[in-house]
């Protein structure tokens, strides 16, 4: 199986998760190198199916959408909306034969803000079943 570092992961996340995300994201990108790209959002509910699809089209093997914990969205329902958008984007991938599981939503477990790397690292270290995107196979 591929090691985690070889998987190109794009992370969209609610910046309420880590008010210092600006600084911390850079640390994380340094540590994980080109394997990870982070996109903070004012609220995860701002995510559009198009963001998720474009990430896949542009070479992401895995797209993570990190939202605040259940019931903790500052804009009340942003994280629920995010889930619906992600489900829609998944259905669009499925239509063209790309595993919908490449798009994942994770809700923060903790209620209080944390270093974004501390939230992401355990997720990135979990075994992941998909491997390189079929879009990248045989092209580069």
């Amino acid at each position: 199986m591929e090691s985690d570092q070889q998987v190109h992961t794009v992370v969209f996340f609610c910046q309420q998760l880590d008010p210092q995300q600006d600084l911390h994201s850079r640390d994380l990108e340094r540590e994980w190198g080109s394997g990870i790209r982070l996109f903070p959002m004012h609220c995860s509910g701002r995510v559009e199916a198009l963001h998720l699809l474009m990430a896949v089209e542009q070479g992401a093997d895995r797209v993570l959408l990190l939202t605040c914990a259940e019931g903790r969205c500052r804009y009340r329902e942003g994280n629920l909306r995010a889930r619906r958008r992600l489900e829609y984007a998944r259905s669009l991938l499925e239509e063209i034969g790309i595993e919908p599981g490449r798009l994942e939503l994770r809700m923060a477990s903790s209620q209080s803000p944390r270093h974004i790397a501390r939230i992401l690292e355990p997720i990135l270290r979990e075994p992941w079943s998909h491997g390189p995107s079929p879009l990248s196979m045989g092209t580069d």
Binding site: E48, A49, L50, L53, M54, V56, E57, L92, E95, I96, G97, I98, P134, L135, T139
Partner: protein, 222 residues
Amino acid sequence: MITGTRKPMEEIRAMIAPFGRVLVAGCGTCVAECASGGEKEVALLASQLRMDAKLRKISLEVGEITLDRQCVYEFIDQLTPFLENYDAVLSLACGAGVQAVAEVFPQWVILPGLDTGFLGETREAGLWLENCRGCGECRLHLFAGVCPITRCAKRLFNGPCGGSRAGQCEVSPEVQCAWHLILERLERQGRMDCLEEIYPPCDWSRHQGRGPRKIQREDQRA
């Protein structure tokens, strides 16, 4: 607003199969409002088509454009400079838009990317309801702004059938009974007398059976 839903991917694939360069053309009005053919939906479909072609190792160039409207010649003309670069246009407008574009550019292949739906309203985000059949003889003033032809399963003009339960239709319990709504509103407006008249059935000859309808107004002509 005219609603539409995107055609299944398989159908779209089959339509565009003979063409190597396809322009996905949205319409920024009705179908943008019902989230099936506006700029965002054009971008989503274009992205899907590019990925799909790559996966199936097909060479396909996909362009994107969204016109304000596809049913008005002034806007359709915005396509003119781009068409040379494409073999076909996949329109995400309603059927009227597709046909108007095809009329202006008869030498080009214009394909429908949507299945056109109904005349409706946006009731809430993500919910569109049919409420007009375009019968050609609007009587909404008599029915407190609720169309019995469209919203009553039995198309009754002269009062409820009596089968509704708690304000829901007996034919489709998930739908509000149109006559329940009509009565409630007429009562609130103190206009129950509207019901005393006997209304003849709709004159469908205005609607169908004589070919496509047209409206021609001299005062609007150039």
